[in-house]
Symmetry: C2
Subunit: 135 residues, 2 copies
DNA sequence: ACAAAAATGATAATTATTTTTATTTTTATA
DNA sequence: TATAAAAATAAAAATAATTATCATTTTTGT
C-alpha cells in the first residue's frame, strides 16, 4: 500500500534526518544532495502532502518563512527573537497532560505552544538587539 | 513625546476598533474608510513599528497571511483549521499564571499558545473537510 | 520661521509559495 | 509482461504577500 514514490520518500527521509526545523528551501537543498534534479515544487507539494497526513507540521519562526517539523505534538518550541531559529523543548512538567486533557475536553484537534527569547548563540553574540526587524 | 503622526495613530485606532485579528490588507481597507489615500506600505510600516514597541503582535492563522493583534499576552488563540479565522480565548484556569512564572524563571520574553479546531461557523457548515489545503 | 528629521504615497522589487502544463513514473489489471 | 489509467514530476510562469526605494510632504525642534 502506502508505497511512496522515490522523491516523496526522499522528502520525508530528509526531514527525519535533519535535526532542525527547516524551511522548504532548506529541505530542497538537502534533497538535491542525493537527487540533484529534484524540483522545488516537488518539495512543496510533498510537504503539503505529508502535512495533510499529519506526518509533518508547520511551525512559525520569527522570519517570514514557514518552518516544517516532523513529530509534532511531542514537544513545544523556543523561537529566537533575533535569528528566528526554532528549537525543540520538552513540555514543562505536567503541562503536556494538562493541555492534552483540555484539548480533548473542548474538542480541539491540536495545540501549539511557543516560547520566545534569545537562543544561546544570540545570547553570547549579544548586541542588545532583541528584534529581527531592527536594522 | 509619543505624539504620532495622524496616519500612524489611525493604524493603531483601527486595530483597536477591529474586533478580530486582521491581516495587513484588512487593516489597510479599514483605514481607507477614513483616510482614502493612505498607502498599504504605510500600514505595513506602522504595524512593524507598533510590533517593535510591543503594542501589536503577530498571530499565525492557517492561511499564509500574517495576522495582527493588539493586546497580546492577555489571551490565547483558537485557530480554525478550515477557514483560518483566529479567535481570542481566555487562558484555561490557572494556566496563565503557570506559564508566566515559567517564562520568567527561564528568561523567555513571552509565549504563545494556540488551539486548533473548527470554529462554530465551520462546524455548522460541516462538509467533513477539516483542512484548508483540501481542494 | 526654518532647517533637519521622520513619515508618507506610489511604485518597483523581492521573496515565498502555488499553479500550470507537458512529460515521466508508478500502479493496477488484464 | 504489456498496457492503459492515474499519479507524480520538472520546469517555468503566475500569484500573493511583504519589503525597499525614492521623491515629496509632514512633523519636530530650535
Amino acid at each position: 500500500m502506502a508505497n511512496f514514490s522515490s522523491r516523496r520518500q526522499a522528502v520525508l527521509e530528509v526531514m527525519q534526518k535533519m535535526r532542525c526545523h527547516p524551511s522548504a528551501d532548506m529541505v530542497y537543498e538537502e534533497c538535491r544532495k542525493t537527487i540533484p534534479n529534484i524540483s522545488l515544487a516537488t518539495v512543496y507539494r510533498n510537504l503539503a502532502f505529508y502535512e495533510k497526513q499529519g506526518l509533518v507540521g508547520r511551525v512559525v519562526g520569527c522570519d517570514n518563512k514557514e518552518r516544517y517539523d516532523v513529530e509534532m505534538d511531542t514537544h513545544c518550541h523556543i523561537i529566537c527573537t533575533k535569528c528566528g531559529e526554532v528549537m525543540d523543548m520538552d513540555y514543562p512538567q505536567k503541562l503536556k497532560q494538562y493541555l492534552d486533557d483540555y484539548c480533548k475536553q473542548e474538542g480541539f484537534s491540536k495545540f501549539g505552544l511557543s516560547f520566545y527569547g534569545l537562543c544561546d548563540n544570540c545570547k553570547s553574540n549579544q548586541n542588545g538587539n532583541d528584534n529581527l526587524k531592527e536594522l
